[in-house]
């Protein structure tokens, strides 16, 4: 728990666990800490700190929820559900796996996960970026939105489960399939069901798509769009950009921006 702390650092008295400040870097030991106390500390310190390191995180929910400052947060351990929900600015590095609801209705900022994440990642995401090194669970990227310059990006290094990008209305969702074996396809079913905006890029073969979606080949402008995103991904996780880009990508877009316009009579 004292990882990286020298004896010179001052220990502040806190009833909520140990908080150590050093040159604008705050270190929090979250062992046995209630999520409410932890998030209270984050909100308090995010105004002044450049960086906050949280150790011994063990399932605390809502880390980074509705935080507004451009602080950098490093999470060591396993954060609980709704990490970065409604978040608006910070960059969170998770050195471990994340659970469900990462980036729920997130507005801006970044989440970088050195591991996998659970279900409903990026639900109704409105902006910012999420990078996940490994796989994700079900219903990821649903209801992602965009308008004008506000355009969210969600990159999954591994593969995803069913209902990926369901009801997607905007943004960019990238699935790289880096955890798949050579002859293995993505297994997700109903990809893009109800999709009416945004783009899903998948590296590798997609098994089953929603009836509202069509599969296209990448064009020059798609590659121009994808390349910097994948470069950023590779920068975090030490992958080779060119190796990733040599394999064929599929582009999934909706047939129509109004998939359910003809369901009704008046």
């Amino acid at each position: 728990m004292d990882k990286g702390l020298s004896h010179k650092e001052q220990k502040q008295s806190s009833p909520l666990g140990s908080v150590v400040a050093n040159n604008g870097v705050i270190t929090i030991n979250a062992a046995d800490m209630n999520y409410r106390d932890l998030n209270f500390l984050l909100k308090s310190y995010s105004n002044s700190a450049k960086r906050i390191d949280i150790y011994n995180v063990n399932g605390q929910r809502y880390i980074g929820t509705n935080l507004k400052n451009n602080v950098e947060i490093h999470v060591y351990g396993t954060p609980g559900n709704d990490l970065a929900a409604f978040m608006d600015g910070p960059t969170i590095y998770v050195h471990g796996n994340a659970q469900d609801g990462v980036g729920n209705t997130m507005n801006s900022g970044k989440v970088i996960i050195y591991g996998r994440a659970g279900d409903v990642v990026g639900y109704a995401m409105r902006g910012g970026k999420i990078f996940i090194r490994d796989d994700v669970g079900y219903r990821v990227g649903i209801h992602m939105k965009e308008y004008g310059n506000q355009k969210p990006t969600l990159v999954i290094g591994g593969t995803a489960q069913d209902f990926l990008g369901e009801y997607m209305a905007g943004g960019i969702l990238v699935v790289l399939g880096l955890t798949l074996k050579d002859d293995e396809d993505h297994k997700a079913k109903f990809v893009g069901t109800g999709m009416h905006g945004g783009t899903i890029y998948v590296r590798g073969q997609v098994a089953h798509i929603g009836k509202e979606v069509k599969i296209m080949k990448l064009e020059r402008n798609d590659i121009a769009l994808l390349k910097p995103i994948i470069e950023e991904f590779c920068g975090y996780f030490n992958f080779d950009v060119n190796k990733i880009l040599t394999e064929e990508f599929k582009k999934l877009i909706p047939f129509s921006t109004r998939p359910y316009g003809r369901l009704y009579a008046q």
């Binding site: 929910r61 929820t65 609801g101 109704a124 359910y260 369901l263 009704y264």
Partner: protein, 503 residues
């Protein structure tokens, strides 16, 4: 294709009264009236008429009458005109029949079978004209008990109270989303709520930044589509409401037809222009009471536990058990929307056949929460067809803390319940996003009319309370002794928890 559907309404124009001023042509958004220059006469396309009365009201010589089409199918109690017409429409289009507003079928309105008490001789009534009667209502979780302390000779409240909404009358404006209604309608509701000291609900379509200054009087809604749910939106509202269900369409999602998704609506909802704004039935992160708790606390975390969080469900068969779960999940306010609850767009078959009357749902939820000893942990707001101050008083005596009014507020602004909200052509400038039609609703005039309605109902509520000898709304809440049923079965009386008149 030749339509087999006959016009529902026939327009009769008194050509002696008609001055050919063409106001009707200008006012009709459905293209019913047109001028025939050759014969110098105004004619109508009856098949387009929705009976909204815009032309009738605006005709300066009152030359227009709208009648039900007298041409009827052979009389048949079972095969009504509506049943036959709907089948014909579906045979022509292959689509589900879409409609607006609330269920218009003849199910019991239990309010009309419940009568109020008044004091006579003993426990004398109170005259509201000379004695204060308190309507102020606090909405939010109440503590199990109050702990007091003496501090420097003063009594100090030791118990930390949960955040509360303070309304000057137990009437709030129901969720009408921006997009379903025009900006001017939203603005009028916000202004009226602020002026009277009550609340409007933003609905699920976000909140225009121009309304942020009324934030202290706005409950902001979060639905499955998460439209407009920005950090600012959460921070600006006085309370948050998670919308799970809606009385007009329990079990199915929100659906704003693409016709109403203009540039402005697309921007605030962050969806493509002209698309249908889809808010599916389930929140895809809520599959259990535990999941609901997760979202409730996400919102509480996001707002530092400073605002009450409400959860709204449609009144359905096992509302009582669900409501108990909602309270245990941390909801500060639970909202029940009955079968008469209205909508901007819903499949008619759902609107008219799914859900239960709010009176029964309210009575059973209130009783259940009392039985479990958790009634104080959440306030109850009910909605769905509240038409008058008497409905409000009966609702509170049955156990509600407050009511939401949606349709009544729209009627105050001009709505005539033509049920065509989903077309986006509302001739009264309410249920439309068309900038030209929206101009018809003057937000100042509309806000004034809404304030008048609140004032009138509040006065009537005080009169009724005074008559019962009750001088604070707190003493009316759940006071079912003030209610008696007429024409109800034993089971109905038992569920409502009221006695038969005469008992």
């Amino acid at each position: 294709m030749k339509s087999y559907v006959e016009p529902e309404f026939i327009i009769e124009r008194d050509n002696e009264k008609c001055t050919r001023c063409k106001v009707c042509i200008e006012q009709c958004t459905y293209g019913v009236h047109y001028y025939d220059p050759k014969n110098d006469i105004v004619r109508s396309r009856d098949e387009n008429c929705v009976n909204c009365h815009r032309c009738v009201v605006f005709c300066p010589t009152k030359a227009i009458t709208i009648k039900k089409n007298p041409t009827q199918y052979t009389e048949n109690w079972h095969w009504t005109r509506e049943a036959i017409t709907d089948i014909k429409k579906q045979a022509e289009t292959g689509g589900a029949i879409l409609t607006g507003m609330g269920c218009d079928k003849s199910y019991y309105t239990y309010w009309d079978r419940i009568l109020l008490n008044a004091s006579q001789v003993t426990n004398p009534s109170i005259d509201p004209l000379r004695e204060p009667i308190e309507l102020r209502t606090y909405l939010g979780a109440k503590p199990d008990k109050l702990e007091l302390e003496m501090e420097n000779g003063d009594v100090v409240l030791k118990t930390k109270l949960a955040p509360q909404l303070c309304a000057e009358t137990p009437i709030l404006f129901a969720a009408l989303s921006y997009g379903a209604v025009s900006f001017n309608a939203h603005l009028a509701l916000a202004r009226a709520a602020a002026e009277f000291g009550t609340f409007m609900n933003s609905g699920e379509g976000g909140l225009d930044k121009r309304l942020y200054k009324y934030g202290d009087h706005i409950i902001v809604q979060v639905a499955s589509g998460r439209f407009g749910v920005s950090p600012d939106y959460l921070n600006v509202g006085a309370a948050l409401e998670i919308k799970i269900g809606q009385g007009a369409k329990p079990g199915i999602g929100g659906h704003l037809p693409g016709e109403k998704v203009t540039q402005e609506i697309a921007q605030i909802r962050m969806i493509p222009v002209g698309t249908d704004a889809l808010s599916p039935a389930p929140h895809h992160d809520i599959y259990s009471i535990e999941d609901l708790r997760q979202l409730i606390y996400a919102l509480k975390e996001a707002t530092d536990y400073t605002k009450p969080v409400a959860v709204k469900i449609a009144a359905v068969h096992n509302s009582a058990a669900i409501a108990s779960g909602m309270v245990r999940a941390g909801a500060d306010i639970i909202v029940l929307d009955g079968v008469r609850g209205a909508t901007g767009a819903a499949p008619k078959v759902i609107r008219d056949n799914v859900g239960i009357p709010i009176e029964l749902a309210l009575a059973s939820v209130d009783q259940r929460l009392r039985d479990e000893g958790i009634r104080n942990k959440a306030s109850i707001i009910i909605s769905g067809g509240i038409r008058s101050s008497a409905d409000v008083v009966k609702a509170i005596a049955l156990g509600a803390d407050a009511v939401y009014i949606g349709t009544a507020a729209l009627v105050a602004m001009g709505c005539t319940l033509c049920q065509k909200c989903y077309t986006g052509k509302c001739p009264w400038g309410i249920a439309t996003t068309d900038p030209w039609i929206s101009k018809r609703l003057d937000p100042d005039v509309a806000a004034g009319r809404l304030v008048n309605l609140l004032r009138a109902w509040s006065l009537e509520i005080k009169e009724m309370m005074g008559g019962m000898g009750i001088n604070a709304i707190e003493s009316l809440r759940g006071n079912r002794e003030q209610l008696r049923g007429v024409g109800l079965t034993d089971t109905e009386l038992k569920i409502l928890g009221i006695k038969m008149a005469g008992e």
